[in-house]
């Protein structure tokens, strides 16, 4: 019995140690995203974007004499992990969070941040639901899938004047959400000859490719990311389907062109306006390249999200309410251009334009 008691005491002592200190003279900001797992590439781009912003602020002396530190929250693209990671970040005393990337993670995690009253600025979750929950803590610097789907649909029916399209998606919150919005925005003028979901992580899409070939659509729209998108484009071309391929921000990546190879030529994607060539983003691009290599398309969004958070913090101080008000009222101009938030936390100006692969790289067409 003595032994049991001894262990009990030790256990309690161990538990008592768990209350960690407030962190002293560091300001902590959270980075939550798929840092490992299937979407780790996106997560690392995000992390590097935030790192760059934090380094720049620290080089200027931090905020109010305090240095800024990053706390990582890895969600592995799994909503359950996202909630755990969110709890951890809140517990670590972060003043705000940049992330998550995947919509299926951002949405459940947003409830945790909302409860703690700390701001969450997503750099890449485009599903409309995220900001439709009436949380005053949710912001995003990217657009929404309903805006994106509309831009894509208008381009297909208005500019390209097509009549028959096939719609595919990857059965994720993001991919299917985007495909649905696209389909909805097409209205009745354009006929949707096929609407199907794929399995992520597969390599072989020949059944659906063969099926769609026989339906002879004039365009194939895909809601999903580049890994599957690239393979699809390639497999369509291999069996002689040469109609244009179109996707959302998920295929807006050099990886898409690499995977699809020559089959990517002529493919369309909807995304924000050019940042690589934009003068406002030149500083970002140069420093990012020097430190981490070629930026991913969402690196700049993470970078600006971090800057928005830190700028608001500098203005409002550490009071949670004031910080939220400051973010909502911000009139930010950075690498992405001007950013302002509406009452829901979405950006005021819908950022979507259409890009096209020409000569082996994406070019803005509209």
């Amino acid at each position: 019995m003595k032994k049991v008691l001894a262990v009990l005491v030790a256990g309690l002592m161990a538990v008592a140690c768990t209350k960690q200190g407030g962190g002293g003279d560091l300001i902590k900001i959270g980075v939550a995203g798929p840092l490992t797992g299937e979407n780790a590439a996106f997560g690392q781009d995000q992390l590097n974007g935030v790192r760059l912003a934090v380094e720049e602020w620290n080089a200027k002396g931090g905020i109010g004499g305090k240095k800024i530190a990053i706390v990582e929250g890895d969600d592995q693209r799994d909503p359950k992990q996202a909630v755990t990671a969110a709890n951890k970040l809140v517990n670590d005393g972060v003043i705000g969070v940049i992330g998550h990337f995947n919509s299926n993670c951002s949405i459940p995690a947003s409830a945790v941040y909302n409860k703690a009253g700390i701001p969450q600025i997503s750099h890449g979750s485009t599903n409309p639901k995220l900001t439709e929950q009436n949380f005053d803590t949710v912001f995003r610097v990217c657009g929404r899938d309903d805006q994106q789907g509309k831009v894509a649909a208008d381009y297909v029916s208005g500019t390209l004047k097509l009549k028959k399209v096939a719609v595919l998606h990857d059965k994720t919150t993001y991919g299917q959400g985007l495909a649905d919005e696209f389909k909805k925005a097409l209205g009745s003028t354009v006929q949707v000859v096929a609407y199907e979901g794929l399995t992520t992580g597969e390599k072989d899409y020949s059944p659906v490719v063969t099926k769609i070939k026989s339906l002879a659509p004039e365009l194939v729209f895909f809601g999903g990311v580049y890994s599957e998108g690239g393979l699809l484009a390639k497999q369509f071309r291999a069996v002689g389907v040469t109609v244009p391929f179109m996707g959302g921000d998920g295929i807006m990546s050099d990886e898409f062109i690499k995977i699809a190879g020559p089959a990517s030529e002529g493919a369309f994607a909807t995304f924000g306006p050019d940042t690589k060539g934009a003068p406002a983003a030149k500083g970002f691009n140069d420093s990012y390249r020097k430190k981490y290599g070629e930026p991913g398309v969402y690196s700049v969004y993470a970078y600006d999200a971090a800057n928005i958070l830190l700028q608001s913090l500098q203005k409002a101080g550490s009071d949670k309410k004031k910080l939220l008000e400051a973010i909502r009222a911000i009139d930010y101009s950075g690498a992405l251009g001007k950013v302002q938030f509406d009452a829901k936390g979405d950006v005021k100006v819908s950022p979507y334009v259409v890009w096209k692969v020409e000569g082996g790289s994406y070019r803005q067409v509209k």
Partner: protein, 385 residues
């Protein structure tokens, strides 16, 4: 089996000692300490508990004494577990809630894998059925409250268990394993595709927390205490069953199917019973998971999850109820501890899993073994020099 006398005993202490010297873990001593101390205690407790569950009549007297001890130890452990949230943060409570949920799940799986010796690779399917039943009943269609949904979730999973088990349990070993794997995948794929019903990849949001007599279990601590109680009840029921004639029949079937059949045990019915019971508790765990998260989506019910739960059972010690809990603690808490390894987290975790099995093939707590099985494995060893 390798002779690792040097390593086997104090492995926990070694592990703790190594971990403690890694710089990023220093400030997390709180997680290392329980492992070092807890490992020792668990060992000791496990011996008592296993002893208390041993069924040889000649040991009955000693068993009864140890059984009283085991109960006291379990009670003490539960008391500690119940007190922890009052001394720690919301994050720790959240992790502990996960540990407890997985413990229930692992305890449920342990009935088939550990006691009946049936390998189940798609156990998460039952968990998913339970979780979706609760989500549909309380949130999507708002037909009833949690207290009705909880047993209904268990019943739904049980029904699936019987429907699947009736044809499948006539198969042997690995063939049965893959049928269960198929079941788990089928459940997940349907959940992902029946959009209008299950919400597809978006899942179901806004599952309300239960209330006890008007008192909402909204706070994490209250909910944690609630699931801890559920675990206690589950463990109590399962250990009672192990001690009953059903439990003995299961073990007899596991040890030697032919002999068991020869003395008049209906092997198929015993298998089906354990399968259904296991499914029932799996469904209950799923229901608790749904209300814990407040939302569910098919991402939470992948094959990897099935494997994780199986790992908990095996890592803890096959057939040992205390082992299932220890395994759940290890497989949920250790990856959390390793969060600071960042990129290397899962790499280290994989390595640790291999090392554990190589150095401690019977699991942390040791299997619930009998003289008969020891002889059996010796035969196998001679068979494979």
């Amino acid at each position: 089996m390798p002779e690792n006398g040097l390593l086997r005993g104090p492995l926990f202490s070694y592990l703790g000692l190594i971990l403690i010297f890694l710089p990023f873990l220093r400030e997390r001593v709180w997680l290392v300490l329980p492992i070092m101390l807890g490992g020792r205690l668990l060992h000791w407790g496990a011996d008592r508990i296993s002893a208390s569950l041993a069924l040889q009549t000649w040991r009955e007297k000693a068993v009864r004494r140890a059984g009283r001890n085991a109960f006291a130890i379990s009670l003490a452990l539960f008391a500690v577990a119940a007190l922890i949230p009052f001394f720690s943060s919301g994050y720790v409570t959240d992790i502990l809630t996960s540990v407890v949920l997985y413990s229930i799940l692992a305890t449920a799986l342990n009935i088939t894998v550990g006691l009946s010796g049936i390998l189940v690779l798609g156990f998460i399917g039952f968990y998913a059925v339970g979780a979706y039943t609760t989500a549909l009943l309380t949130a999507k269609f708002a037909l009833c409250g949690f207290w009705l949904a909880l047993p209904l979730s268990g019943a739904a999973a049980l029904a699936c268990g019987v429907v699947l088990g009736a044809p499948a349990l006539r198969l042997k070993g690995d063939y049965l394993a893959i049928v269960t794997l198929g079941f788990g995948e089928i459940v997940r794929i349907f959940a992902n595709n029946l959009d209008s019903f299950t919400g597809g990849p978006n899942g179901i949001l806004g599952i309300p927390r239960p209330a006890i007599m008007g008192w909402q279990l909204a706070s994490p601590v209250a909910f944690y205490l609630f699931v801890l109680t559920c675990l206690g009840v589950t463990l109590l029921i399962v250990t009672r069953i192990i001690g009953s004639r059903y439990g003995r029949a299961w073990i007899a079937v596991r040890e030697n199917e032919m002999a068991a059949a020869a003395i008049g045990i209906d092997v198929f019915r015993k298998h089906l019973l354990s399968f259904a019971l296991s499914a029932f508790f799996g469904g209950i765990a799923g229901s608790l998971f749904a209300v814990k998260q407040g939302f569910i989506s098919p991402d939470s019910f992948t094959f990897f999850e099935s494997v994780l739960v199986l790992c908990m059972v095996v890592l803890g010690g096959i057939g040992n109820p205390a082992g299932a809990v220890a395994g759940a603690f290890l497989l949920v808490a250790v990856p959390e501890m390793l969060r600071d390894f960042q990129l290397y987290r899962m790499l280290v975790f994989g390595g640790v899993m291999v090392a554990f099995m190589v150095f401690r093939p019977n699991g942390i707590m040791g299997s619930l073994t009998f003289a008969l099985e020891v002889d059996d494995s010796r035969d196998e060893r001679e068979g494979l020099p």
